[in-house]
Symmetry: C2
Subunit: 388 residues, 2 copies
Amino acid sequence: MTVTIVIAQGGGPTAVINQTVAGAALETMKRYPGARVLGALHGVRGIREGRFVTLSDLSEQELLRIAATPSAALGSTRDKPDEAYCEAIMRGLRGAGADAFINIGGNDTSGTQAILRDASGGGITFLHAPKTIDNDLMENDHTPGFISAAEMVAGAFLSIDLDFRALPGIYVGIVMGRHAGFLTASAAAWSLDEEGGPHLIYVPERAFSRERFVEDVKSVFHQYGRCIVAMSEGVTDAEGRSLVETLVPREMQERDAHGNLKLSGSDLGQAIERILAEDLPGRRARVDTFGYLPRGNIATINDTDAREAYAAGAFAVASLEQGHGSVALQFDGERTVCKLVELDAVAGKTREMPDRFMHVHESRISQEGLAYFNRLLPRRYDPAKPFV
Amino acid sequence: MTVTIVIAQGGGPTAVINQTVAGAALETMKRYPGARVLGALHGVRGIREGRFVTLSDLSEQELLRIAATPSAALGSTRDKPDEAYCEAIMRGLRGAGADAFINIGGNDTSGTQAILRDASGGGITFLHAPKTIDNDLMENDHTPGFISAAEMVAGAFLSIDLDFRALPGIYVGIVMGRHAGFLTASAAAWSLDEEGGPHLIYVPERAFSRERFVEDVKSVFHQYGRCIVAMSEGVTDAEGRSLVETLVPREMQERDAHGNLKLSGSDLGQAIERILAEDLPGRRARVDTFGYLPRGNIATINDTDAREAYAAGAFAVASLEQGHGSVALQFDGERTVCKLVELDAVAGKTREMPDRFMHVHESRISQEGLAYFNRLLPRRYDPAKPFV
């Protein structure tokens, strides 16, 4: 009987998510000669609608070229399947003759796999392979996609710091991350020296206050003559309200059909610009919204990240006979290894950045935090120290 | 008598402006053994205040390491010298024993050189070496710093296009450029295929209308199921008013001490988000502000750009005996060559992007425009075409 593996991608794309597809496809073709590997288009939606490509028809060379291409080549989805949707997915998988379904994604995607496992009644193995630039999956030391995104952020902040040594002022870069501050904190990974930016880091894990922010900026500016800030889109005040909610006039706030406030980097950027203009008048200030620029950037695909993403896909296939589960990247003290963990240990949960990664009393990264980011992201550049 | 050359950097930093410093310094040391090369800190301000570093004391290796570092290692300035300031600069140059002053920068910097030449009464040669990511200097085919910035923008838009194939929606990237659209239009340089984004480009050289923009986006979205937009910060309406002025509520507009409207990418980004929410409700949309990310980005330093920036500095020194002037990068039909042109041909003028670089009736780049960007920026990546 022909082995059939279905692969799908879910959630926001990354620079290396296609490596995981290629790793899973090529490992299947190696372990199960003659197997069929189907790629579902736009995630579970493609399974429901019967839209597949046959990845096992492609050559190794073609698959490796796809692997090296950022973003989700199969297309992605943010659909959260309800009961009827789950039944449609199950029909789709059975119709395709699937023995296993490997879904590559973050918390939501692992949640989908747990739901499908429970609804399946057996016969199909449900695996989750990790992917997220947010780095917020439980059981993982870090996640495929994160290092490349962090490399873009770290390089950008090193560059911005050099820029503001030449022309002093205040800079705030708004970085994605609704619940976890890892990507924002990675801005500090390649800081040039003791005086190097980012000087201040604001993450969702720590309550934000306007007064504290303004005092922080004043203090850094006084000390260094410039101030570089990395701020998460997801920062909230002590009551858990987003900055957009507290800072943007109500009539300017945008809400969706359910009345949920739309969190946008541009809104936050404008709110921060207004704070700086009001509370630090006369200072040259600039706010940029990084937004999607780090997440699948072709200029900053990191080799380690690419290798690990490939390995996660291959390991999912190598684990098939152990049953349902989630592939996790763990650190054994010396190197990163793949482990198979329970889907429920990952599904729908969020790993926040450990509080000890930040200084206790200051809005900046701690030595332990820096050591973590430097382990994942060894310095790539060796710039000269400017004369100013 | 010892030859003394003063070098300074002006205006916004770029990824390769230090190459020009190194090129000038090393060419001086080669042509005039024993010469002193002084680097003024923070441009003409450093000359006025007598703040110099002696670049000729550094080894070739040290100078080449500085050359490879983005942003202005000597520091920069946006000071526009008045008469008294000019006299102070002249005193500073004479005090330093300067035979020549090479000022690296854009239109304003070349303007400073023309003013100083006229005020000098002879004895010092004033040279301008080109630098700007805006690519808006007269007499130049393109300017040092532009190609690296354009590489960041082109790679980002290629990546964003791949991202939005995976998860369809509308994306607007706001790119620097107050008067010239070159950097924004470079977003199209590495477009993946016929359907590839950016699908729409809005530059300062063409009047912007909200109605036309919304129709454009609707039409592209209808055709491709997604819409990627590159928009200059400097876009204005038919009356020359900035979008911020026309779209942002008056009470949200920020003005400086002189009552001048502050043009900010975040303001524009938020205004565009509101247009999309109001006129294209229910569509997934995202607006990011690139801001300073392209201009000195250490991840996208382009080799050609670096070489040409170095050559411009070396050529300035090689031209010293021809008198005052501005170094220009010109294209002779086969390759880029340095020429010395009159300071007045460059000073204070702006080269706009030729109108023929855009389609006559559509908000997209023309074949001629694309050929220009592809000549400067050959494709660096060969991504696979996604399945979706």
